[in-house]
Symmetry: C2
Subunit: 421 residues, 2 copies
């Protein structure tokens, strides 16, 4: 029964480390960009179970139109490998070929090309994001796809070696399950994040923890919170990756969560900001990590005003029966001066007095290196953010051009002789 | 489907207001003490569904030995009417008689005597309370029972008229269900109390609220908290009844709970301090009020060191399948200076810094009329307690001999001509 993921499919395991001498000698080498490399890794380890590779035409059509794969499995976002017709011709790629994907100058994975096809990017964008407005970053990403797509299974032959601080937070789906078993967690509630935690996030996690407990006497409660950060494409002004992981972990280190109920890990995934559809993908992803519950607050995975605050909750409700993970729906927390504490909008009646957490305000405070009030951010979290800023952010807690160019890589791939030829 | 209570039995309704001329003229009048009067009222309105009267010998035997009524219904505490052999003889009572119970000099209920029997009080006490130590107030009560018991159905013929502030919090089980329907509550989590609320109680209720929400989008969540106070036998040093009701209600009035998620009512019941068995009774009672969930924290309904902190949770778990109400099990809250807030023992890792709520300390502070820090008690709650102290407690927030003698009655019964004869 273990290692079963989304739709009760076995957790995909397409990781087959190979030595240079095996087979790959002489294969066509296909260098891939970061977006593709990250997804190859996530697919191979099973984060995106049951996907085994990049989608073909029918899969994309089913996913965008009906939110399902051809076998009926619920899926909300196309996972595609785009390539220009020019490059396909230049590299002489054909359906049926097996090629060697390389990244960072090292061999990474084999790729069995199944189909080379066209797809209407504008239609893909509109169906996935519910808008064709190019101000939506997911739409922009989709419209920028090259004019062809290549589908097929991937097999990771060279495992990424994560650099610190990522190494200590890296766990494959199977390693998540093993860690949960070791901690005797029978319920695990996932928290999606790409943020440094303010006290509103902390309260959300705590509220979800109560919601995720089954009706067991407290001595038998074994519920964990998995803080699973999304690490991937960065936009200017985002929190830097290192800061997100270290500051989330600090909440446990500093005792705001007990050691036995809290764990921080990450998934390599580029946010699409697809709101409701992305929330579904997050539910699927955390199912594959062995979580039993997933918290969804206000504006989950949205951007701008493209989605209403609780659209994600409505869509998840609609597909509830097709998910093995139980959604925990919550309203936002706010700091209420009358309550003198962080409280949830569903509970507190001091609407006029209460102060919503302003991400923008918090960012501007942190950008100046000023410590926010402890009502809003734990002092240990603030110190962690400042340390990361110095150590990893070139003096900034937020992504800058300088960071994008000069940051340490998240992982490295071992060089292999084969590419030197 | 509505008005179904414990074990899916219809909510008992044995209330039949009668005019003087009907039948009761000429019936033997049996004056009853407060304990019996309260239970007659609770039985007749259905708070104790499926009970329709006082238990007979076999019912007491089944309840004390196997925690079930003869038809297999789960029941944990004997509900008996004790009477001395002397009084039975003096009033010439026999099995098969129908008599008129009177209270406060007014007719109250008819009582169809079914069985007059003896029972070993010591055995009843030990099986019910798990101890024969007379320091246990439930044991003491049982050992003090008269030497005979009288069983039979009761019918309330004269409805109590509750005095303020009780009137505004009085609801029959059917009125609870109607009120929930009017508020569109689909989940209701019960909070058992005989306390003025400190911030730890408030946190417990809020935590349980999250636990009681089903996986509905927040716009559709209709979960209420029913604060159902136990009003009955008072011991010196208990909070006065008026203060409990008014200060619990103040949490909503002052906005710590939204109007649409919080309601205060009470049940006439004498605490037995039976710990686990009393917790089961509370679960049954709140099932009869239409609640779907019931919170159980540490030391539920216990006294002294007779029960372990989570014994009640263990027993409820064991009988989970026989209950229509879902228990929500919680650890205690404490004030943690490092977190700077009230937090739950299950979450916070600052064990050494954290400060348990001391009921004794809080009582001694209130006894001096000193306002506790707002971390421990909301200022509006404190002011309410002080007001009740003046208005109802003769200057004390706690039960004194003076209060017991001079308090306004909780309810009055209309006088009827029949008793004047």
């Amino acid at each position: 029964m273990r290692y079963l993921g989304h739709n009760k499919k076995p957790i995909v395991d397409r990781v087959k480390p190979r030595s240079d001498s095996e087979k790959i000698d002489g294969m066509t080498v296909l260098p891939v960009k970061r977006e593709i490399a990250h997804e190859v890794i996530s697919i191979s380890y099973g984060f995106l179970t049951p996907l085994e590779g990049f989608m073909n035409h029918d899969e994309v059509a089913g996913v965008t139109s009906d939110m399902e794969l051809p076998d009926g499995t619920l899926w909300s976002i196309p996972i595609v490998f785009d390539m220009s017709a020019e490059e396909i011709e230049q590299r002489n790629l054909s359906e049926g070929d097996s090629v060697l994907m390389s990244y960072q100058g090292a061999p990474m994975a084999t790729f069995d090309i199944d189909e080379i096809y066209r797809y209407d990017n504008a239609e893909m964008a509109e169906k996935t994001y519910g808008t064709k407005d190019p101000k939506h970053p997911g739409v922009r990403r989709t419209l920028a796809y090259a004019d062809r797509f290549v589908s097929g299974k991937v097999t990771l032959i060279n495992e990424p070696i994560f650099n610190e601080p990522f190494a200590r937070y890296w766990r494959t789906p199977r390693q998540h399950l093993d860690a949960f078993a070791q901690k005797h967690w029978t319920s695990v509630v996932a928290h999606q994040t790409r943020n440094v935690p303010h006290t509103g996030h902390e309260a959300l996690m705590k509220q979800a923890w109560f919601a995720a407990n089954e009706d067991k006497p407290v001595d038998e409660i074994q519920t964990g919170i998995l803080v699973n950060a999304i690490i991937g494409e960065k936009r200017i002004g985002d929190y830097i990756d290192e800061s997100i992981l270290l500051s989330q972990d600090m909440l446990r280190e500093a005792g705001y969560f007990r050691d036995n109920i809290h764990m921080v890990t990450f998934t390599l995934w580029d946010m699409r900001y697809a709101g409701p559809r992305e929330a579904l993908l997050h539910a699927i992803l955390r199912t594959n990590l062995g979580c039993t519950h997933h918290m969804f607050g206000r504006d989950h995975a949205g951007v701008g005003n493209f989605y209403k605050p609780y659209d994600a909750q409505s869509l998840l409700k609609q597909y509830r029966e097709k998910l093995l993970i139980k959604p925990v729906f919550l309203k936002e927390n706010w700091y209420c001066p009358e309550c003198g504490e962080v409280t949830n909008a569903a509970l507190c009646n001091h609407d006029r007095a209460s102060q919503n957490f302003s991400g923008t305000l918090l960012r501007s405070i942190l950008d100046d290196g000023v410590q926010p009030t402890r009502k809003v951010m734990r002092p240990e979290v603030f110190r962690s953010v400042m340390e990361s800023s110095e150590k990893y952010g070139m003096g900034s807690s937020f992504v800058t051009e300088k960071y994008l160019k000069g940051r340490q890589p998240i992982f490295t791939l071992q060089k292999m002789e084969v590419l030197k030829a």
